[in-house]
């Protein structure tokens, strides 16, 4: 029984090394620079759309790579998707109420 634990760990060999994380970090910094740069232009009502789009791309990178969700199994992914869906549903209902 005692060896089972180590076997289990070995199945979960790390998917990411120092290099991989560094590339993701560099991209996140670049996207931060981009979103600050874009904020200098007046895009009217698209300003917030562009800003949230860039934020969402950054969020997906953090969730998938730093938080390892990309390598998680279907159940874990489903829990996380459910969590995100609840928030999005709330925002959509609010949107129809406020904007409509």
């Amino acid at each position: 029984m005692s060896t089972n634990n180590t076997e289990h760990i070995e199945e979960h060999e790390p998917h990411n090394g120092f290099g991989n994380y560094f590339v993701i970090w560099l991209t996140l910094i670049a996207l931060t620079a981009l979103t600050v740069g874009v904020a200098g232009f007046d895009l009217g009502m698209y300003t917030i759309v562009v800003a949230l789009l860039i934020a969402s791309v950054k969020a997906m990178m953090v969730i998938n790579v730093f938080m390892h969700v990309k390598y998680d199994d279907a159940l874990m992914k489903a829990v996380i998707a459910a969590c995100a869906s609840v928030l999005i549903i709330i925002l959509i209902f609010l949107g129809t109420d406020v904007l409509g």
Partner: protein
């Protein structure tokens, strides 16, 4: 082996048991369910997302109602401190990820150095936040201040209330994250967390990344509204 099978394998044994193995050496079987632990952490993060989610909903509601007030109020925020704090948090997420890679490779001391760096970045974030808030309060920009009540009738006050509330709650999470990581560092040095069992560090990492994640949305919504 699927994770579910692995989880059920441990269900019969809820506490540490011990006995003698084939060669008569003492073995200890310890209950352990890394998968369940991680799933539980995600359920907790779910509640955190909803906690902040409610505030984001409030933000969008009030922003739609008073777009001009929000624009005017946001002009009082400086992009630079916000951008610097974004870079600090992103970098702290990197050192957190590095700490986990280090412990997976059995490099205990290196792992603790990365955890220490993560706490240091958190501390740097707090210092910036302190100066930023002090400056705002010095300019008489805080909920219920004379300046907001008398000169800003178009919902600027709501913007600043949300600003203090949301970045304040976020800062509270940074502080909690730093304390949690400090405990993780102690566990690493006592080898309670080691090469073969580091789920606690992974869960602390998830929490820290969530704090980073929330800031990724706070930053454009408050600082880039000019």
């Amino acid at each position: 082996m699927s994770t579910l099978e692995h989880a059920s394998e441990h269900h019969h044994d809820n506490s540490a048991a011990h006995g003698y193995g084939d060669n008569n050496e003492l073995y200890v079987h310890e209950f352990r369910d890394d998968y369940g632990s991680k799933l539980g952490m995600w359920f907790f993060l779910f509640t955190e997302v909803l906690l902040f989610g409610g505030l984001f909903v409030a933000y969008f509601f009030f922003r739609v109602n008073s777009p001009e007030g929000f624009q005017n109020a946001a002009a009082h925020l400086d992009i630079m401190p916000g951008a610097i704090n974004t870079v600090i948090l992103l970098t702290s997420s990197l050192t957190m990820a590095y700490a986990i890679v280090s412990i997976q490779r059995g490099k205990k001391v290196l792992s603790n150095w990365y955890l220490g760096a993560t706490i240091a970045f958190g501390f740097w974030f707090l210092i910036n936040k302190y100066f930023e808030w002090s400056h705002k309060i010095h300019l008489d920009l805080y909920p219920g201040s004379e300046r907001i009540l008398n000169e800003m009738p178009d919902g600027e006050g709501v913007f600043f209330t949300l600003y203090y509330m949301m970045t304040g709650l976020h800062t509270l999470h940074v502080i909690v994250g730093m304390i949690v990581i400090a405990f993780i560092m102690v566990s690493v040095s006592t080898e309670n967390i080691n090469k073969n069992r580091y789920i606690k560090m992974e869960n602390a990492g998830l929490y820290w990344h969530l704090v980073d994640l929330i800031w990724i949305f706070l930053f454009p919504l408050f600082y880039l509204l000019h």
